[in-house]
Subunit: 227 residues, 2 copies
């Protein structure tokens, strides 16, 4: 059994990103699935022994507990667990990937997640459906950032930060795929994102499809359906 | 003249954080003030030559353009420009600081900024004032995260990630100070945050007060007033 424990739920976007990265890296770890829908992260035991912020993903590396997906990625990269082509070691190239990893938090992450939550998750949990005006506002906010992915990040390259896949692409794809469940098809309006998502999936499979099994199932769209 | 150009506006929280960090580090750089209120970041010239995302802070290091405050910090640390006590080089200690830097984006950064914007900035720009109910909702969201700073991050230590000041404290303090301008006094409800802010200011002065000159002036509260 590995001394690295990985706590995650494939319903969580950054959990999926780390899952794909760990699998692509051939890393040894102990699978610790946390069922968010059963509130397994909300117990006192989870708070005290696993993650004081009561979220996933998080790790316990031989007693060293760490939360936050990007921090986890960097820590494991420094330990030599992530191949250099996925997360560069040379600081100039790493800066380009870091720029995306920091940019995404308050742009696509927050707006795609809010769109998904308001349209899919909240109605399920509370029975309240959002108004058309609310959906429209959330869509506009999300598309402002999808526009930047299409027009700026993918302006000149096949992948977000250059000519090959890095962790930046994996984090971004997992956020964008989440909106499928809220019946949003990013591929209609964004041809570059459509082609890029296809490349990301191909570069990451079979792990990409494994990670997105629930997303495909819930959205009723197969992996191939709209690619 | 240094080959490192630093583009910033002290009205922007992460600009202030980098300004303080650069000054504390004794780094040589060329001051490039961008007047956000005059829309200087919105020109085509800025987009094409300075930052394609049209935001501050950003740098140009001898032709290498980089945006996103945390990515900039990490790049300059790798170049040996940031002292190790502010941003640890040992990956285990660095992980603790990274955990905070990643955590803050969608917690205190987004909620403090939204509180400030809705209550102070938007009325100034649009003439529309938010309803009491709206203010209350924003305050609750913000305080959920301030609670975590008070009860989790500051539970056992004098600073956010241990017994001494790091960049984590500087980023956090700059976000929290911003809410003064919206007439929010974090010190009333949060005694640990109050004492910690005092320690951060003392550890960073005179640069902390220089960076917060406009914040003090606009909020009508001197640096000492509520500490």
């Amino acid at each position: 059994m590995s001394s690295l424990r990985f706590y995650y739920d494939l319903m969580s976007q950054p959990s999926r990103a780390l899952f794909i990265i760990f699998r692509l890296s051939g890393m040894q770890y102990e699978d610790c699935v946390v069922q968010l829908r059963n509130g397994e992260h909300l117990t006192d035991e989870f708070k005290h022994n696993i993650n004081r912020f009561q979220r996933v993903p998080c790790i316990n590396d031989n007693g060293y507990k760490l939360a936050e997906s990007v921090a986890i990625l960097r820590y494991l990269s420094a330990k030599g667990k992530i191949p250099e082509h996925l997360y560069p070691k040379y600081f100039v190239d790493q800066g380009r990937v870091d720029e995306f990893l920091e940019w995404q938090h308050n742009t696509i992450r927050v707006t795609c997640a809010l769109y998904f939550r308001t349209i899919w998750l909240d109605p399920l949990l509370t029975g309240r459906t959002p108004t058309e005006a609310k959906i429209e506002t959330l869509r506009i906010h999300m598309e402002r950032n999808l526009d930047i992915i299409e027009e700026v990040w993918l302006a000149k390259s096949e992948f977000l930060t250059g000519s090959s896949l890095t962790v930046a692409d994996i984090f971004a794809a997992c956020e964008i795929e989440q909106t499928r469940m809220a019946d949003y098809d990013v591929r209609i309006k964004y041809p570059k994102i459509r082609a890029w998502l296809k490349r990301v999936r191909q570069s990451c499979n079979p792990h990409y499809d494994t990670a997105h099994h629930f997303v495909y199932k819930i959205s009723g769209t197969g992996p191939q359906a709209k690619l």
